[in-house]
């Protein structure tokens, strides 16, 4: 690999239409080596769909998707259910898409704090354990691009911070690009190079510092750097309020972002009204 940043994956005004509705459209996105791009947005805003376009799982109905030739991807999908009929241990799952030495397998699992699960049955894992194992599997491939669809869902709070730290550490040590989806706005921001806020289209984008100019965001990042308790406090809010709260946070960012946002002003207002109703 060269010293200059190589583009791993790129979406150009890409959109997906299904049954006459646009799930998401007009997305410009690119991930380079050593870059962390975070997609945030409410449920149904097209985050996973966008990631699937970038991965080539879905073919864009308009626009284009480009992936580097021979790009090695590590993918952590949003959800994975293992049927009872499948006898699948964690160790075997780690080798799902490529062969892997025992040592590498163990090391990757230990990195994500799942070393003790090596011989466990996949079916018996809790949600958080499953996330750790899936992340370990993706890392063990030593990919050029990591795509993480809500990698910390179901992980307890201490584990969540550890996993986010691990993700930025992976970027530094392995030099891969990372495309991450998150609904957890506050923790993600710090490590990301670029944050893209989606709501059926690109609502706003920028570096975390751009996006976090709003007072609310500033407070969130302060909390991230600060004591565990303060962070936990915020997290607590998130968990216990209806998911309209997350949307509200997005809405706030959007109103601070000029340019792209104004093109879609009416749609955003609609969305905001919907959220208010929901609450």
């Amino acid at each position: 690999m060269t010293a200059s940043k190589m583009q791993l994956v790129q979406l150009d005004r890409a959109g997906i239409r299904k049954g006459g509705n646009w799930l998401v459209r007009g997305v410009d996105l690119s991930v380079s080596e050593r870059e962390i791009v975070t997609l945030i947005g409410p449920n149904g805003s097209g985050k996973s769909t966008t990631a699937k376009m970038a991965l080539g799982i879905l073919k864009p109905s308009e626009g284009s998707a480009f992936r580097g030739k021979g790009l090695k991807v590590g993918y952590v999908p949003q959800k994975l259910t293992i049927d009872w009929t499948l006898p699948l241990s964690v160790g075997r799952f780690m080798r799902l898409t490529n062969p892997l030495s025992d040592a590498d397998c163990r090391q990757a699992l230990e990195q994500t704090g799942a070393g003790h699960l090596l011989n466990a049955e996949m079916r018996t894992l809790s949600g958080g354990e499953m996330q750790r194992v899936m992340l370990a599997r993706a890392i063990a491939r030593s990919p050029d691009l990591l795509v993480l669809d809500e990698p910390v869902q179901g992980v307890d709070y201490a584990g969540e911070i550890a996993i986010y730290d691990l993700i930025s550490e992976i970027r530094n040590t392995m030099g891969c690009g990372i495309l991450m989806i998150s609904h957890d706005l506050h923790v993600v921001m710090a490590a990301a190079d670029q944050v893209i806020c989606l709501n059926g289209h690109v609502c706003c984008r920028g570096t975390p510092s751009d996006v976090s100019k709003s007072d609310q965001y500033h407070a969130l990042f302060g909390a991230r750097a600060g004591a565990g308790l303060a962070v936990y406090q915020h997290h607590h809010d998130h968990v216990h309020l209806p998911d309209g709260q997350v949307r509200h946070a997005d809405g706030t960012i959007c109103s601070d972002c000029p340019g792209e946002h104004h093109e879609h002003a009416h749609e955003d207002q609609q969305a905001n009204t919907g959220m208010t109703d929901a609450r």
């Binding site: 991965l55 799982i57 993918y75 994975l80 049927d83 006898p87 241990s89 898409t97 079916r123």
Partner: protein
């Protein structure tokens, strides 16, 4: 050795079972039991065509099965009907078409019972050759696509995201199933082929810790069912297909017995995961 009809049936049946076991595991994992049924019902149409065109039965059945599999894939992509409705439509249309065309051919007398339930007297040396060549081919291809097919079975999205092209693996798998159904028609019959795919695999499930183990055990369980079934078919003058399936069923029940407690524990685990 192959001059004896019973030996021929044994050799043929064991050959079929060795291939059906591993393939049947995927049928179970991918929840495609009804797909297997559809292909085997369509086999009857293949038989009718083979009589009409005077070609080899196994080849005709294989060709019809492949056409049905490809039709199924393309119908499913068009997203008009649900997958099981499409299967039901294809399955029974093909079965009915086969029976109607057989009835039209007044000049041939067909042993319908033999077609539906298998006939060990009918196994020829050519059949055995086709089973071992076809079966060997199926196993070789299955081994070749094993990793990507298995990854696509665990999670199609994950496999696609990491560049394993799950659609291609799925198509290959369907074609392999079509071949297996074609070569097992004579020995086990159109109505019961799916059983030879599914029951040995189900019997193997509880005794296996890895997917590969399950595939091998399913092949062994299938071969054992064939041997037991054919011997009882000979001794009690019962049709060969049903006898093999009964033997497989007994194996499945035996596989349940020592693990009775284990099963209950697994059940609670599953419920725990879902809650």
């Amino acid at each position: 050795m192959l001059d004896d009809f019973f030996t021929r049936a044994l050799v043929a049946g064991v050959g079929v079972a060795l291939v059906a076991g591993p393939l049947g595991c995927f049928i179970i994992w991918r929840r495609m039991a009804y797909f297997g049924d559809t292909l085997s019902h369509a086999a009857l149409l293949g038989v009718a065509l083979s009589l009409l065109l005077e070609v080899n039965t196994t080849l005709a059945v294989g060709a019809v099965s492949i056409v049905i599999a490809v039709m199924l894939l393309s119908l499913r992509r068009s997203e008009t009907l649900s997958s099981d409705a499409i299967l039901g439509l294809l399955s029974h249309s093909a079965l009915a078409l086969g029976l109607v065309s057989l009835a039209f051919m007044t000049w041939v007398r067909v042993d319908l019972l033999g077609l539906l339930f298998g006939d060990i007297l009918a196994v020829t040396k050519l059949d055995i050759a086709m089973i071992y060549v076809g079966g060997g081919f199926v196993l070789a291809v299955l081994l070749l696509v094993w990793r990507r097919l298995f990854a696509a079975t665990v999670s199609p999205d994950l496999a696609a995201g990491e560049g394993l092209k799950p659609e291609r693996a799925e198509l290959i798998f369907m074609l392999l199933t079509a071949v297996v159904i074609a070569i097992s028609l004579k020995i086990i019959g159109a109505l019961l082929i799916t059983a030879l795919l599914i029951i040995p695999a189900a019997a193997a499930r509880r005794l296996s810790a890895t997917p590969e183990q399950m595939a091998i055990l399913a092949a062994i369980a299938g071969a054992a069912s064939v041997v037991a079934g054919l011997y009882s078919s000979l001794n009690y003058d019962t049709p060969s297909g049903p006898s093999i399936v009964v033997a497989a069923m007994v194996l499945f029940i035996v596989s349940l017995v020592p693990g009775g407690i284990l099963v209950r524990r697994n059940r609670t685990n599953i419920q725990g995961d879902r809650s």
